[in-house]
């Protein structure tokens, strides 16, 4: 059983390992990658990921195995919302998140997303910390108070 103080330190280390790996590689790490990177037990990593999910720092995939689905703004699985930065393709969970990837990385980006109505590709560009190209409106169908009832649907 991990003591509360060391549990906090563990969760911080796991959080940083997840987000730094996602930033550096454009891929959200698997629990085994975190275990290897931090040199801690798979059980500690799993328990930490569940606590981070409860705190809504990240989202685990549905099902019995512990796998990260979203380390917002990054998606662990391919999506239509893509940010192209320094030769890498990052997947965002939605338009909000894919627009958050360049600010998170403090980088310029080309962004490709898809119209939620007709599926047409939409291109955007971020440069110098500003959105310099792109147009459109963003539709939210779920009231903010219910976003986390089913964040995958939202």
């Amino acid at each position: 059983m991990t003591a509360p103080g060391s549990r906090e330190a563990l969760d911080r280390a796991v959080r940083l390992a997840v987000f730094r790996a996602a930033a550096e590689t454009a891929r959200v790490p698997a629990p085994a990658d975190i275990t290897a990177a931090l040199g801690i037990s798979p059980e500690d990593v799993e328990a930490s990921l569940h606590r981070l999910a409860e705190e809504r720092v990240l989202v685990l995939a549905p099902g019995p195995s512990t796998r990260i689905w979203m380390a917002n703004p990054f998606s662990a699985v391919p999506t239509a919302h893509r940010a192209f930065i320094d030769g890498r393709t990052y997947w965002g969970n939605c338009i909000w998140d894919v627009l958050g990837i360049p600010p998170a990385l403090h980088a310029d980006a080309e962004i490709a997303t898809a119209c939620g109505d007709c599926g047409m590709e939409i291109r955007l560009r971020v440069a110098g910390g500003e959105l310099v190209e792109g147009e459109g409106i963003v539709h939210y169908g779920v009231p903010a108070a219910r976003w986390w009832d089913n964040i995958g649907y939202t």
């Binding site: 959080r15 987000f19 930033a23 338009i95 627009l99 958050g100 998170a104 955007l124 108070a145």
Partner: protein, 48 residues
């Protein structure tokens, strides 16, 4: 919302996400961010 509003939210939410001392915004802070860009009606309230 407009794309500019969405861009403002993306910056507010994620600019510090990779920082070691990042913490999740409180509901008050998150609602204030929404209100700052004109999203203040009942649809955008984070608590029922």
């Amino acid at each position: 919302m407009t794309l500019d509003q969405q861009w403002s939210l993306a910056k507010a939410w994620y600019s510090d996400k990779l920082e070691p001392d990042w913490r999740r915004a409180t509901p008050d802070e998150a609602e204030a961010r929404l209100a700052r860009i004109g999203l203040a009606d009942a649809f955008w309230r984070l608590r029922p």
